[in-house]
């Protein structure tokens, strides 16, 4: 087969869009067309709703879609996490059952990894999956920090199926049906008042052996794949783009879908510190004339700009196919420093009004929300401490700490009481 060029892809995608895309379609009909044609997931294999293109050529397709304003497959954990993981680890039978409704948006998914007792130490999870006499697994335990669990059809569930082997080896990865009596989803309120996440309780919930992904006891390897996709997704999370204002039935339906998926993330800009507001607030309040405030602003701007440049250096190296330098792993830790510095500077600028909230506070409470959301940045998605371990060990090659918990049966590892 001769190599496909960018131009080939561009013209083929353009031709297909010209004959299939219309803003007046029902969103469900458009998504069916995407799934049938493979243009929705161009880098997926041809046999699984894709076109088998490279990631770079996938970007070309995306570009063509953007050019005509055509919408893509749904956002959220379904395609990016579940889809990508299933492609890698699921059996053909499982792929047949699960992949297409992910692309069409019929089924939404959630991720059931973290537990109250296992945060940084994800592999220390204690939700149990016990095989019963009927060949089904019975699940008991609790998950937490789950986004959108309340409207998900399926969950990617990590549970411990064997307690007599070391921690990483007793974990199985399941696709669990969320619509069953043994699964209870409760919203989890955060300190900033939002409830973006859920707790999920399993009480004799059931999952068929046919829904084990990647084999019993092999769940850790599958989970690592999902986590890798999650990190990539965090790199590229975007808003609705031009679709935010465009007209047409498909856009209306898409906006409704997006609003629901994105609802949990609406405080994320505040969590990141709202760097964008710093200089204008300083100038508006006159605090930009205080040399002490100016030093703090300058430190913050320098930190933010150098972090951005560092990320761009890493991307440039990747694009040139050079070995990734240390820059790549640093963004998360830098974001944490930036957010914290933002909160400090916003406080310096805001003064007494930092005691207020909501409508009584500056910018209708946005600054207040920054102050009480920023503490999440250094925890969510891996604490600063874990990031420093990763940088120390994987980037610098420093030796790991002696492990107390690997190499012996998980049953014998000291752990938190289930709670």
């Amino acid at each position: 087969m001769s190599a496909i060029t960018e131009e080939d892809v561009r013209s083929e995608a353009g031709a297909w869009l010209a004959s299939h895309w219309s803003p007046e379609l029902a969103l469900s009909e458009w998504r069916r067309r995407l799934a049938d044609s493979g243009w929705g997931c161009p880098s997926w294999p041809v046999e699984w709703h894709g076109r088998g293109l490279s990631l770079a050529l996938g970007d070309v397709v995306q570009h063509e879609f953007n050019r005509v304003g055509a919408l893509g497959i749904p956002q959220g954990p379904g395609p990016t996490l579940a889809g990508a993981t299933l492609l890698e680890y699921a059996s053909d039978e499982q792929k047949r059952r699960f992949l297409r409704p992910i692309i069409t948006g019929e089924d939404t998914w959630c991720q059931l990894f973290s537990e109250p007792g296992s945060g940084s130490d994800l592999a220390g999870l204690t939700t149990r999956a016990d095989l019963d006499d009927d060949g089904e697994f019975v699940v008991n335990g609790q998950k937490v920090w789950t986004t959108s669990a309340h409207h998900a059809r399926y969950g990617m569930l990590l549970a411990r199926s064997n307690w007599d082997v070391p921690k990483h080896r007793g974990i199985t990865y399941f696709v669990i049906d969320m619509h069953q009596p043994g699964v209870v989803v409760r919203p989890l309120r955060q300190m900033n008042g939002h409830a973006s996440f859920n707790e999920v309780f399993f009480t004799n919930a059931r999952v068929s052996s046919a829904n084990v992904i990647g084999g019993v006891g092999n769940g850790w390897a599958v989970a690592l794949a999902t986590l890798a996709h999650e990190r990539r997704m965090n790199d590229v999370r975007r808003g609705a783009g031009p679709a935010a204002t465009a007209r047409g039935r498909v856009y209306d339906e898409y906006r409704a879908e997006t609003a629901s998926v994105m609802e949990p993330y609406k405080w994320y800009p505040q969590r990141a510190g709202r760097l964008d507001l710093v200089v204008e607030r300083a100038q508006a309040t006159g605090r930009d004339r205080d040399p002490v405030v100016r030093q703090a602003i300058a430190k913050l701007l320098i930190l933010a700009r150098t972090a951005e440049w560092t990320a761009r250096r890493a991307r440039a190296a990747r694009l040139l196919g050079r070995p990734p330098g240390p820059e790549g792993s640093l963004g998360k830790l830098a974001a944490s420093h930036i957010a914290r510095a933002c909160a400090e500077v916003h406080t310096l600028i805001t003064g007494a009004a930092a005691m207020l909230a909501r409508a009584d506070a500056p910018l209708d409470g946005v600054i207040a929300e920054v102050l009480i959301s920023v503490p999440a940045v250094s925890i969510a998605g891996g604490t600063d401490e874990i990031q420093r371990n990763i940088i120390g060990e994987r980037v610098l090659g420093l030796p790991r700490e002696p492990a107390e918990d690997v190499g012996k049966p998980f049953r014998d590892v000291p752990k938190n009481l289930a709670g």
Partner: protein
């Protein structure tokens, strides 16, 4: 300067700690902070009538217990530990200090016994929407009117201002600037010409109000136009009291983090055995102990009316603010995800710390004042 507490002071602390532990547990704090008033009259009665807390530092001739600022500091450290929801700071610290600093003997006799007994709840309205915490921020005017005065202007950030029975107001004569023309006045909270509105606050345990005065009639306390020194003294006392309250909270939130680090297991061991957590806690001990020393030194200076009281008040405010915010922030971090949830108590301390950082002036402002007041 006093570097250790007397046995009596230690005993007072023990009694109060036990009382507050029983009466102001986190569940009660959470209940009260969601109410509009923000406190429970029954508990206030016990605090004031059983423990005499509101009159602790009020001279006996005015119905108080006649203790000094060291005892007041202990009381605030303990209320700060439990995030007590009560109009204690507003009435017993701010309003009472203002009256003690500004009023004549006769006025003290008239006003203080009710406050000391807790029968009446007062607050001090001094800051305004400009957010400045000294006399230069005062724009509200007092104009003589038929033996009393009429007040016109706006006060903001008024602690428990929406529910206080009595408002002590710092105002200035028309046309005056800076320290000149500052006087104190009192009026009932429900006076005509005074509109009160509760503000949404970052810290739900600290209720603040916005007060609009449109010709409200008020009585002068002290000498007309001579209130600047009393205001400065009152704000120094408030800064020291706030520092005491903050170190109580800081110590408690640190204890919580340490307790959690001892029991929380990850990777087969308590997280407190990891140096990342252990060393964070060690640095917090240092900072919190330093802040306690600052609060104690300042309270001791206030008790002795020492020359360096103003400098130490600013020192203590700056130092305790930084320590409290760091302890509360790090405590959330040590708790990890659960520390960011509503159901965990970390955020109550964090918000209190964040709000206290701004209340009465930011640490950087107080550092500058500390130098100026030290002659540097």
């Amino acid at each position: 300067m006093q570097f250790s507490f007397t046995d009596e002071q230690d005993e007072f602390r023990r009694v109060l700690r036990r009382f507050l532990h029983d009466k102001s547990p986190p569940a009660e704090v959470r209940r009260l902070m969601e109410t509009e008033t923000g406190w429970e009259p029954g508990l206030w009665k016990e605090l004031t009538q059983t423990l005499g807390l509101a009159g602790l530092h009020v001279p006996e001739e005015y119905g108080g217990q006649g203790f000094g600022f060291v005892e007041l500091g202990i009381a605030l450290e303990e209320t700060g530990r439990v995030l007590l929801c009560a109009p204690y700071f507003a009435s017993a610290v701010l309003a009472t200090s203002a009256i003690m600093n500004a009023a004549s003997h006769a006025q003290k006799l008239a006003l203080l016994p009710g406050l000391a007994a807790g029968d009446s709840i007062a607050t001090l309205a001094f800051a305004e929407p400009n957010g400045r915490w000294d006399s230069t921020g005062i724009e509200l005017t007092a104009t003589p009117a038929g033996g009393a005065f009429r007040l016109d202007g706006v006060k903001s950030f008024v602690l428990d201002g929406q529910r206080a029975d009595l408002i002590v107001v710092a105002a200035r004569s028309k046309g005056s600037t800076g320290d000149d023309g500052i006087s104190f006045f009192t009026l009932a909270g429900d006076s005509p010409g005074l509109e009160r509105r509760g503000l949404s606050t970052l810290d739900a345990t600290r209720k603040l109000a916005h007060l609009e005065f449109s010709g409200a009639r008020a009585d002068l306390i002290g000498e007309p136009g001579g209130g600047a020194f009393a205001l400065a003294r009152t704000l120094d006392a408030a800064a020291i009291a706030l520092a005491s309250e903050m170190v109580g909270g800081a110590e408690r939130v640190l204890e919580t983090a340490v307790e959690y680090a001892k029991t929380r297991m990850q990777f087969g061991r308590p997280i407190g055995s990891f140096q990342a957590i252990k060393h964070k806690c060690a640095e917090l001990v240092l900072e919190v102990e330093h802040a306690k020393s600052a609060a104690y030194a300042a309270a001791s200076a206030a008790a002795e009316n020492a020359e360096d009281l103003p400098a130490l008040a600013s020192l203590a405010k700056a130092c305790a603010s930084d320590a409290y915010l760091r302890a509360a922030t790090d405590s959330i971090q040590i708790h990890g995800g659960v520390g960011f949830t509503w159901e965990n108590d970390c955020h109550l301390y964090f918000k209190r710390a964040k709000s206290s950082e701004a209340f009465l002036g930011l640490p950087s402002e107080h550092r500058e004042r500390f130098l100026q007041r030290s002659g540097i």
